[in-house]
């Protein structure tokens, strides 16, 4: 009787444990089911590399949005990457543990602030500031990069902090014993040992920046055109989906799913890159 129940529990748990894989497969299948027929009809090349996005006239080219996503993401990395890594180094190597225990959760609170709130601050504070002092419409690549940079900062920082903390204490002591200053020990020994973990943090931050939607819709301006300067208004891949999903039907809706599919593939590639970087770290330890 008891034994029977044990067997049953184990089977149920096995089924439950497969729920993540099932979800992932469902997501992949439905994205493909909606996106692939469209891609076959229009042609992958024309979809990816044409600059004309006029769903009403049957023109579906997402090239400007791919470029926009790229610009915004690189900009976000330039803002959030250095700040996040600097914070991680400072908190692990240069301040007492007690300070870190207060500051780290405080910065991680940043991660909890909803993206719509970030977007709103972009609209109310950052965009007017840019319009005033740099010109252009204000709602722009630059505004999006600044806001997204702040948003990905906690991701970059917390993964980098873990990586730096994981470097054995003896590495630091060895360097210090050889007469290195604290900073020399950090940048010559510790950072080198923690490199792949930090890279993983940056890649995951990049994934967040590419995938972010609501904040970007609010601050990037959403004009479908190729950006020529950081002050131009752009529409990213994610913004394109969210903006038009509400009223799209037929081919148009399929085009949005195909856009999602492109995003899905890019994110999956980035994630597996980050995972292999993290694995490398585990392997060298």
């Amino acid at each position: 009787m008891k034994l029977k129940r044990e067997k049953l529990v184990e089977k149920v748990l096995l089924v439950v444990a497969c729920s993540t894989i099932l979800s992932l497969m469902l997501i992949a299948v439905f994205m493909l089911k909606e996106g692939v027929p469209f891609l076959l009809k229009v042609g992958l090349r024309r979809f990816l590399f044409s600059s004309e996005w006029q769903p009403r006239n049957g023109q579906y080219g997402i090239y400007p949005m791919i470029v926009a996503s790229l610009w915004v993401t690189v900009g976000a990395l330039l803002v959030g990457g250095p700040l996040g890594i600097a914070g991680a180094i400072f908190l692990t190597e240069f301040v007492p543990r007690g300070v870190m225990r207060v500051v780290k959760p405080a910065i991680e609170l940043l991660a909890g602030i909803p993206s719509v709130v970030f977007g709103f601050i972009g609209v109310m504070v950052v965009a007017p500031f840019i319009r005033e002092y740099a010109g252009g419409p204000g709602l722009s690549v630059l505004a999006a990069a600044l806001i997204l940079g702040i948003m990905i900062l906690p991701t970059v920082m917390s993964i980098s902090t873990d990586a730096i903390s994981a470097v054995p204490q003896s590495f630091r002591e060895g360097a210090l014993a050889l007469g290195a200053t604290r900073w020399q020990a950090v940048h010559m020994v510790v950072l080198r040992a923690a490199r792949s973990g930090i890279i993983a943090g940056v890649i995951l931050g990049m994934g967040r920046a590419i995938g972010e939607t609501m904040a970007v819709i609010m601050v990037a301006g959403n004009a479908v055109k190729m950006p020529h300067s950081p002050l131009d208004s752009v529409r990213t891949l994610t913004a394109n989906i969210a903006l038009e999903m509400g009223f799209a039907t037929g081919m148009h809706r399929q085009a949005l799913f195909a856009t999602g599919l492109v995003l899905f593939v890019v994110i999956m590639l980035l994630n597996s890159l980050a995972m292999s970087a993290l694995k490398k770290r585990a392997g060298t330890r």
Partner: protein, 279 residues
């Protein structure tokens, strides 16, 4: 030119320190800005009356209800699945190809952006399964989204339970499942609750995945099949369509306070958990 190591050391400390300080200042400024602009609009009346003219006037009661109900539905679905998976991974199997696949799937799921969840939820739950824009569709979509968080934190918490506990339980004649239910889970509870709270925090602030699955009806939901609008979605619509800046700020303030409270509670729990482990 060679710079004295003493000077580079000092420069490094100053630069790294000011970068960290800058980050902290931004965090404080964001919160202060939202609260300063929003709190004047917030009152009991604002919280507990229905909105009028699409939110131009009146309060936010239905969105408050939506913001409480939607994470509840999501958690009710995700907790059994997530904790069950964690139990399976830690107590019922060794590292096999299957567990590696499950871990890989969990990692992948964690990286998918919320707009993709929104698209999927819309085409699968709302359209294909015919649930329409509803609490249920939104809850299911959010459940999949927070599943990785719950699995990871629960797994960690379960692993942290000392093996001696299990051995004692088994030596007293308990079966594996009895050990899990009576010994392992109670001891892992604070960690599991932490994962749950993290998920609630994420669900409260989520917009992209919710707006296409739970819809944006301002009516009070009466069952899980009714559409609802969360505060995050309400705030987005108010701000984006320029309906009312004042009410948008007010909603944002309530939203930020809710998220901060949930997150601080989570840290407090986590801290207690760590303190207990250290004892």
């Amino acid at each position: 030119m060679r710079i004295e190591p003493k000077h580079t050391q000092r420069a490094a400390v100053v630069i790294l320190g000011s970068a960290t300080l800058f980050t902290l200042v931004i965090l404080v400024l964001i919160i202060v800005f939202v609260l300063e602009k929003g709190l004047p609009a917030v009152s009991l009346e604002f919280l507990f009356t229905k909105p009028q003219e699409m939110g131009r006037a009146g309060g936010i009661l239905p969105t408050l209800v939506g913001t409480i109900l939607l994470p509840l539905v999501a958690i009710a679905i995700a907790m059994p699945l997530g904790v069950g998976t964690a139990i399976y991974l830690t107590e019922y199997t060794r590292e096999t190809r299957l567990t590696r696949i499950i871990r890989f799937g969990t990692d992948c799921l964690a990286g998918i952006p919320s707009i993709i969840f929104g698209l999927f939820g819309f085409i699968f739950f709302v359209t294909t399964l015919g649930m329409g824009w509803s609490l249920l569709s939104g809850g299911l979509t959010l459940a999949i989204m927070v599943l990785p968080t719950i699995i990871r934190t629960s797994e960690e918490a379960i692993r942290a339970v000392p093996n001696a506990y299990r051995e004692v339980s088994c030596s007293l004649g308990a079966t594996r499942w009895e050990t899990v239910v009576k010994v392992v889970l109670p001891n892992a509870l604070p960690g599991i609750v932490t994962g749950m709270m993290l998920s609630v925090g994420r669900s409260i602030g989520e917009t992209a995945a919710v707006i296409f699955t739970a819809g944006s009806s301002l009516r009070m939901p009466h069952s899980v099949f009714d559409s609802t609008r969360t505060m995050a979605v309400h705030f987005y619509i108010l701000a984006r369509e320029g309906i009312s800046n004042e009410n948008a700020y007010g909603t944002a303030a309530v939203l930020v306070i809710a998220v901060l409270l949930v997150n601080m509670l989570t840290y407090w729990l986590m801290h207690r958990f760590i303190a207990r482990k250290a004892r």
